[in-house]
Symmetry: C2
Subunit: 210 residues, 2 copies
Amino acid sequence: MSEPERLSRRNAIRLENEQRILSAAEKVFAEAGFGGATMQLIADMAGLPKANLHYYFATKEELYREVVRNIFNIWLHAADSFDNAPGPVEGIGAYIDAKMEISRRQPDGSKVWASEVMHGAPVIQDYLETTLRDWTAGRADLIQRWIDEGKMAPVDPRHLLYMLWATTQHYADFGHQIETLNGGKALSDKQWKAAKDSVKSIILRGIGAI
Amino acid sequence: MSEPERLSRRNAIRLENEQRILSAAEKVFAEAGFGGATMQLIADMAGLPKANLHYYFATKEELYREVVRNIFNIWLHAADSFDNAPGPVEGIGAYIDAKMEISRRQPDGSKVWASEVMHGAPVIQDYLETTLRDWTAGRADLIQRWIDEGKMAPVDPRHLLYMLWATTQHYADFGHQIETLNGGKALSDKQWKAAKDSVKSIILRGIGAI
DNA sequence: TCGCTTCCTGACCGTATGGTCAGCTTTGAG
DNA sequence: CTCAAAGCTGACCATACGGTCAGGAAGCGA
């Protein structure tokens, strides 16, 4: 790293504005979908003129791609919980914790990701075919090893992974439905803990790890 | 019912066209989202002039609302599997089977529903607050009864329901991702069976029903 | 056959949206 | 201090979209 703190005025402005725009874009894309989102609305939410958005991000697609890319990285990072775990209880337990936390803290990101995949992953297909495919294969191997070592029941590793994704992301993607069924109120700290515990206990018991 | 079979030419045409339009709309809304879908594209896919769409459905919103309503009814119908079951193995097992089958046969409907909820359920909020809320409360009671009767472990019925929805619908909503991770090929009959069995065995064992 | 209703559609319209651009201001290296 | 580069923006444009409508075609009860 040959650039220690180049936070000159210029760079600071650039970073600040890009961040504001990306943050606003994530929210708007999550709420309206790619097609329903408008650059004007994103601009308003970011507190910038629309033309300024196009100064930083040439097109709507480019801005969207950047948003999705950010989310994908956060996703992958959560997978660190998986590693260095002695067995499924610790590894999968920590992974569920991490993903539930993401669902709670960054539901917008989760929604954008879900939307992207549901529509056929037009902009991150290459990521799915490379990074995600590799990641999945690696974890499936790890799970298989745990099975071989008798640390859990012989379940299909792939379907277990899908189940982990589905259950955790559901709390973000379908948060509105859950909230409605919760009397219109967001889940409390206690309820989030109950959710986490439910998911963990059912899955860990379901795979014969506890 | 005072109108036995009024399948006069007129009615036949009406039914036929409405069905074509709804079917095309479901696909387009699923692929592009509400905002990204265009009446022109739906019209093309239905093989009708755009103006004809507006003859049957005044606005895009009205067409969309009808699509969502249809899906919701199919959803609710799958819940019949739940009833008249002596215990969780039969009831929840059948429910998973039914919902997995829907995910396989009507993935577009599932996607439209997911999209609708993700965006805050603008058009079916009332359904969530009435029909779905009642349905959920009823099934939660049923599950609680099974718990009280010692037929399964004491899990939170709500979170179990969310888990059932999440895992089964995931195979429709994230079907593209699953397909990509499956080497770009759709799941075969055998793989669908494996998916069903995985979900069922992990959950049923997870709740101590088997 | 008549005449009313339903069905159908090409052409059209107002608007909203993504994107452009000329020209301004601010920054900071030399 | 100079001046080129970077940052900024109001005004503008072309297009695509949802929706309308006048008028014709087809169905059907009497």
